[in-house]
């Protein structure tokens, strides 16, 4: 059923009993033209664009849990494209353009809200760096505005912009087209749209091994039996090292780290944009339900636990209160952790692998959510054509060996610093 005013009225007069399941509960067939391992945002987007852009509809997405249970439902829902390196700028801007038309394209309201993303500056050097980044963005056709302190105070009324602030604010940079998206709707919308194009979405189906015909990949073994396919794409975020080990890759330029996120009790409208703290590391926005959604640094050590430790909770909460003193007595409603595939230069990998027919989408650090449409679009192209699109050509697996790194932060080969 196509969602429309007509479908709402038809259901309103019939007791909401006509709504069909958004996607089928597919059982695995013996073989497909391609298999995507991982039913998160990136995997589902890849399946959707494979079917829509490349006509590859005999494909399956295999997911060990349920849709929306991994990082696509564990992030702070922010989208933006305020990068400086040209390869990152082009890719994330393409992703942002796909976000802008996503709800219409998927016929599913993803609640894309371009409420702006403001990065605060606390030193003249930081403001200079933002001006440089903003100029780089505008040269690439991306929107950016440099803000002085008065303009920051006007746009974000709750901020402490006084000289008595722990880290006084000098100004900031804003990307007006950045914002937030309802993250569950991204998983559900892509799943439904892919399903309507014929893609089998197979939940509760964990990959336990890879099938090879010589060097070439020939399928996967799963907890629901063997599934054959000449092409297999892996998009499993924090579990990349685990899954790729099954495929014969013992070592990758990736470490898995835990990133925590938080949501407060519901408040009346308080914050109508996304604000990031420049003196520490904090990003905060207000959801449509009223809760303040925020996060900070990763815990900083290897982890697959999907939960973090208290020192980071304290660190993040203190940053929030340094920015917004009025939040000091707000109670935390929930906190959770997601496992980040931290790459060695802070940039992702969307590429073929040395094994023909096996493709890898990984290394998103904690920037994966905003990349969901662009990542799926580029990964689908890479799988369908067996070569990267120019938008993801720089996100190669061998760049660490050749030295063509994309180190946006200049932090070196230390994953916990990206």
């Amino acid at each position: 059923m196509r969602y429309s005013l007509g479908s709402i009225i038809a259901n309103a007069v019939s007791g909401q009993r006509l709504w069909p399941m958004a996607w089928r509960k597919a059982a695995p067939k013996p073989s497909y033209d391609a298999i995507i391992v991982g039913g998160g945002g990136h995997g589902l987007a890849t399946a959707y664009y494979l079917a829509k852009e490349h006509g590859l509809t005999n494909i399956a997405v295999v997911e060990k849990g349920w849709l929306g249970g991994g990082n696509v439902g564990r992030n702070t829902t922010i989208i933006r494209s305020n990068y400086m390196l040209p390869d990152n700028t082009r890719f994330y801007e393409w992703s942002l353009k796909l976000w802008e038309n996503l709800s219409r394209e998927l016929n599913f309201n993803a609640m894309v809200s371009q409420r702006g993303v403001i990065n605060l500056a606390h030193t003249p050097a930081q403001l200079d760096a933002y001006a440089r980044r903003g100029n780089a963005m505008r040269l690439a056709g991306v929107d950016a505005e440099l803000l002085d302190r008065d303009e920051v105070a006007r746009r974000v009324p709750g901020l402490d912009v006084s000289d008595q602030a722990r880290f006084p604010i000098l100004g900031g940079i804003c990307q007006p087209r950045g914002g937030t998206v309802r993250h569950d709707a991204v998983a559900w919308g892509y799943a439904r749209a892919a399903d309507r194009l014929g893609v089998d979405i197979i939940e509760n189906c964990e990959v336990t091994g890879f099938v090879y015909d010589g060097e070439r990949v020939a399928g996967v073994d799963t907890t629901r039996g063997r599934i054959e396919a000449p092409k297999v794409g892996v998009a499993v975020a924090g579990s990349t090292s685990q899954v790729m080990r099954l495929a014969g890759f013992e070592r990758l330029p990736i470490e898995s780290h835990v990133l925590q996120a938080f949501v407060s009790e519901g408040l009346k409208p308080f914050l109508d944009t996304v604000v990031t703290f420049g003196a520490g590391h904090l990003y905060i926005s207000q959801s449509d339900k009223g809760g303040l959604v925020f996060g900070g640094d990763i815990d900083g050590y290897n982890s697959y636990a999907q939960r973090g430790n208290l020192p980071i909770v304290e660190d993040v909460a203190s940053s929030a209160v340094a920015m917004f003193p009025s939040l000091a007595r707000i109670r935390l409603l929930r906190s959770w952790g997601g496992i980040m595939d931290m790459s060695m230069d802070g940039s992702p990998i969307i590429d073929r692998t040395p094994k023909p027919g096996l493709y890898l989408n990984a290394g998103w650090c904690y920037g994966g959510f905003k990349a969901t449409p662009g990542s799926g679009w580029c990964f689908a192209h890479t799988i369908a054509r067996d070569e990267p699109h120019p938008l993801n050509a720089a996100f190669s697996l061998d760049r660490f060996r050749t030295g063509a790194l994309l180190d946006e932060r200049g932090a070196g080969a230390t994953p916990r610093l990206h």
């Binding site: 990758l252 330029p253 898995s256 430790n309 060695m344 660490f400 080969a413």
Partner: protein, 88 residues
């Protein structure tokens, strides 16, 4: 998470700085590029028992080799890292 420092006893993780995978061995300066590439960029990244280096920066400042489970955060033990060339 508390790390059992052999000198200070069990201390909060907030006193320590993480220094990464302890199984990575820095190769000699004249090693070939592939060896350096593996040491600088490649990690086994296990889910389960992990050998890692922690620096007790806000305590005795020792560098410790900690055995920790990355799936549960349970710590099996910690020992001082001996100076290069000495027996551990």
């Amino acid at each position: 998470m508390r790390i059992p420092c052999p000198f200070c006893g069990p201390r909060s993780v907030s006193e320590f700085t993480y220094e990464g995978d302890a199984t990575v061995v820095r190769p000699p300066l004249d090693a070939d590029p592939d060896t350096w590439f593996a040491a600088v960029y490649e990690r086994t990244n296990p889910r389960g028992s992990h050998q890692e280096i922690w620096h007790h920066i806000q305590g005795c400042r020792s560098f410790l080799r900690v055995s920790r489970d990355t799936a549960t955060h349970a710590i099996q033990g910690a020992a001082m890292i001996a100076p290069e060339g000495a027996d551990e």
